[in-house]
Symmetry: C2
Subunit: 359 residues, 2 copies
C-alpha cells in the first residue's frame, strides 16, 4: 500500500524486524471466545512480521475438501463442549511488546492465501431472513470452489444440513447428507479477507466471538484483505491479537449469516502506535478509509459511524465539523458491513482521491 498520513513505513524498524511463524494447532488457537486472560502463544516486538495459520470452524461442512492434518488435530483435541459461546476458531493471542491500554495497534495485512481452494457458505440460524415466514427453518450448506486464478467461486455442491447447526465444528458424515448440484451460470467474485481480527477486549471473561466491537473482532468487512492496514484501540498490556474466520468471498450484509468460510494463511506486520488514537477499528486501503461502528440496529450504528467519521476528518484532514458533514453527504458512503453478527455493522467510506494537492 502507498504511504499515508497514518500507516507506518515499510522501512520503519525494518532492520530490527523479525519474521515469526505461528502455526495453528490445538495449543495455539482458541475456539468461540475472546478472553483477556488467555496466555499469549507468541510474543513479538513492535514492527515484527508474523505468518499466521488460521483454520476455519466450518471445515466439517466438507471434510473431504477442507480438513487437512492441521485441522484434524485441532478438531480432535479441542473438546466440543469448550467451543463456545461463539463459533469462530481464532489463532492467538499474539502479545506485542510495549503495547499499553490507550495505544493503537496497527496491523498491516500483507498477504492472505487460502489453504485449500474450497469454502463453505451456510444459510445459518442467525441469518438475516432465517426466521421470516417465507423460509423453512432448516439450514443449507453450499460448498464453493475457487478457480485456478483465484478470481471466481463456483458451486461445487450443496446439501440440506442434517439436523440443527448447533455444534461448532461438527464434521458432517457422507452418509448423513445428500449432495446436490448447485446453480449453473453463476459465479461469485473472489474477495479473500479475514472476517475476524481483534485485540483482547477490555471486559473480563469469556466473550462470544460473534459481535464485533471497539476491539475489532468479527467485523466481517470484505475489504479487510491483502494490502490493507487495520488500526485497533488497545485495551490490555501486549494488545493480545488473535485472528481467523477467513472468507473467500462475502458481500456487504453477509445476508445468510456466513461468507465462504475457509482456512487461510496470513502474513501480517504489527506495530504499536502511541502517536494517534481513535475509538473505533479503522481500516485503511489503497483508496479509502473506512470507519466502523456497531449496534444492534442499523440506524444507531449509522449515527455512530457518521459522528466518528466527522471526528476523523476534523482530526486528520483539518476540516471543520460543518465542512466534514457536507463532505460526507457528498463524497462519503455510509455502508452496511453486515446484518447478522448480533451487533450489526455500518462503516463510513472516505475516498482518498477527494484530497488533492494544490496545482
Amino acid at each position: 500500500m502507498r504511504y499515508s498520513k497514518l500507516k507506518s513505513s515499510l522501512a520503519d524498524l525494518i532492520k530490527k524486524a523479525k519474521l515469526h511463524v505461528l502455526e495453528a494447532d490445538s495449543e495455539t488457537v482458541h475456539w468461540g471466545h475472546w478472553d483477556n486472560s488467555l496466555a499469549p502463544v507468541l510474543t513479538v516486538e513492535s514492527g515484527d512480521f508474523v505468518f499466521v495459520e488460521t483454520i476455519t470452524h466450518q471445515a466439517g461442512d466438507a471434510p473431504e475438501l477442507m480438513m487437512d492434518e492441521t485441522t484434524k488435530e485441532i478438531y480432535r483435541n479441542i473438546p466440543e463442549e469448550t467451543r463456545k459461546p461463539g463459533p469462530h476458531l481464532l489463532t492467538g493471542p499474539i502479545e506485542v511488546k510495549g503495547a499499553e491500554p490507550g495505544d493503537m495497534l496497527e496491523v498491516q495485512i500483507l498477504d492472505i492465501e487460502p489453504r485449500q481452494p474450497y469454502g463453505s457458505n451456510l444459510s445459518a440460524p442467525w441469518g438475516f431472513l432465517f426466521d421470516k415466514e417465507k423460509y423453512e427453518e432448516n439450514e443449507h450448506v453450499m460448498i464453493y470452489e475457487l478457480d485456478d486464478h483465484a478470481q471466481w467461486l463456483t458451486q461445487k455442491y450443496k446439501y440440506e444440513y442434517p439436523g440443527a447447526y448447533d455444534v461448532n465444528g461438527r464434521v458432517v458424515g457422507e452418509d448423513e447428507i445428500t449432495k446436490e448440484e448447485g446453480p449453473r451460470g453463476m459465479r461469485i467474485p473472489a474477495q479473500l479477507h479475514m472476517g475476524t481480527i481483534g485485540v483482547a477486549p477490555e471486559e473480563d471473561g469469556k466473550i462470544s466471538t460473534v459481535p464485533p466491537s471497539n476491539f475489532g473482532g468479527n467485523i466481517d468487512n470484505w475489504r479487510i484483505g491483502a494490502d490493507t492496514a487495520m488500526y485497533y484501540p488497545v485495551f490490555n498490556k501486549g494488545a493480545l491479537l488473535s485472528l481467523g474466520d477467513a472468507h473467500l468471498a462475502q458481500g456487504d450484509s453477509e445476508l445468510n449469516g456466513t461468507g465462504v468460510e475457509a482456512s487461510a494463511n496470513c502474513l501480517i506486520r504489527v506495530k504499536v502506535r502511541k502517536d494517534f488514537h481513535f475509538t473505533q477499528p479503522l481500516l485503511e486501503t489503497e483508496e479509502a478509509w473506512h470507519i466502523h461502528a456497531f449496534n444492534e440496529n442499523l440506524d444507531d450504528a449509522a449515527e455512530e459511524a457518521s459522528l466518528k467519521a466527522i471526528e476523523f476528518l476534523e482530526e486528520y484532514q483539518g476540516m471543520t465539523e460543518q465542512e466534514a458533514y457536507s463532505f460526507l453527504a457528498l463524497a462519503g458512503e455510509l455502508q452496511i458491513t453486515q446484518v447478522v453478527n448480533t451487533n450489526k455493522g455500518v462503516h463510513v467510506t472516505i475516498p482518498k482521491d477527494a484530497f488533492v494537492p494544490e496545482v
Copy 2:
C-alpha cells in the same frame, strides 16, 4: 446501455417514436407534492423521447449563479404558500398513453446535463445529525462549482443560513449573508443524477415529495444517472411521470440532508411494460440491478430489500430461494441509499457479471 433481459431495445418502436420538448415554466411544474389528480402537462406515446427541463428548489441559495430566466419565472409565479408539503420542484406530470395500473413504466435516462455548473448543498434541519447534541441548531449552505470537464466539484463559498430554512425556494439576499471561503485541498467526485423521478401515487391527495415509496419519487440514489433505466409500478392511468431534484453529486446516505442541488436538463425515453411486474422501483445500470426498499428504519428497509431481491433472482435468474439467499450473501451488496428522507432507503445491488455463459 447494453441490452439486457429487461430493458427495451433502442430499435423497439423507433420508427414511430417522437421527440418531445417539455420546457419548465410555472405551468409545467408542481412544487412540493405528488397528486394523482394533477392534469398532464404533456401526453406521449409509449416509446417516445422527452427532453425535460428541471429546475432546482434551491436556486435561491446562490441566486447570482443558479437563477436563470426560467427559474425566475417559476419562483415569481408560484406562490410560496403553495409550495408544500415537501420542498421539491418537479416537472410534469407526463401522461404515457396506454399505461394502466398494474403495468410497469420503463424510464430510460439517456442523458443529464446541468443547466449551470453550480449547485447548493444545505446542512438541513432534516439532516441525519442535525438534532445531535454535537451540532448547533443552524443551517449551513455550501455552494459548489463543477469543473470544465464535469469531473469534480469544489467549494465556491459557504455561509450560515440567515434564520431557519423554512420557506421552500426562498431567495437569499446578498446583504443577509456572509460568504466565507470553503475548505481547500478537497474535491467531490461529480455524479450527475436525478434525485426524484416517479409516477403518480396510488393514494389520493397532495402527498409530500420527501418520502420515497413504491411509486419512486425522492429515491436519491446517486446511481440514477445517464445511461440507466428505471422501472416503476404504475398506479394510475397514463402513469403520470414527474421528475426533478437533480444533483451534481451525493454519497450513499445524503448525510446532511441534501446533495449538490442543481437545475438540469434530462433526456428520457418512456415505455409502457405489460410483460413483467415488480413491486419496487428497480434501477438497471450497465453493471448491476438495484432493488429499492423504504422504511422509517434501516433494519426494516434492509429486510424488505433483501426479500424483494430474492424474488427478483428467482423470477429473472431462475434461482431457487436458497440459491438466491446464498448468492446475495456473497455477491450482492445491501447498501444504504439515504437516511434523511423520512422513509430511509436501502437497495440491494446485484452485479451482472456474476452471471456467465457456459464456456
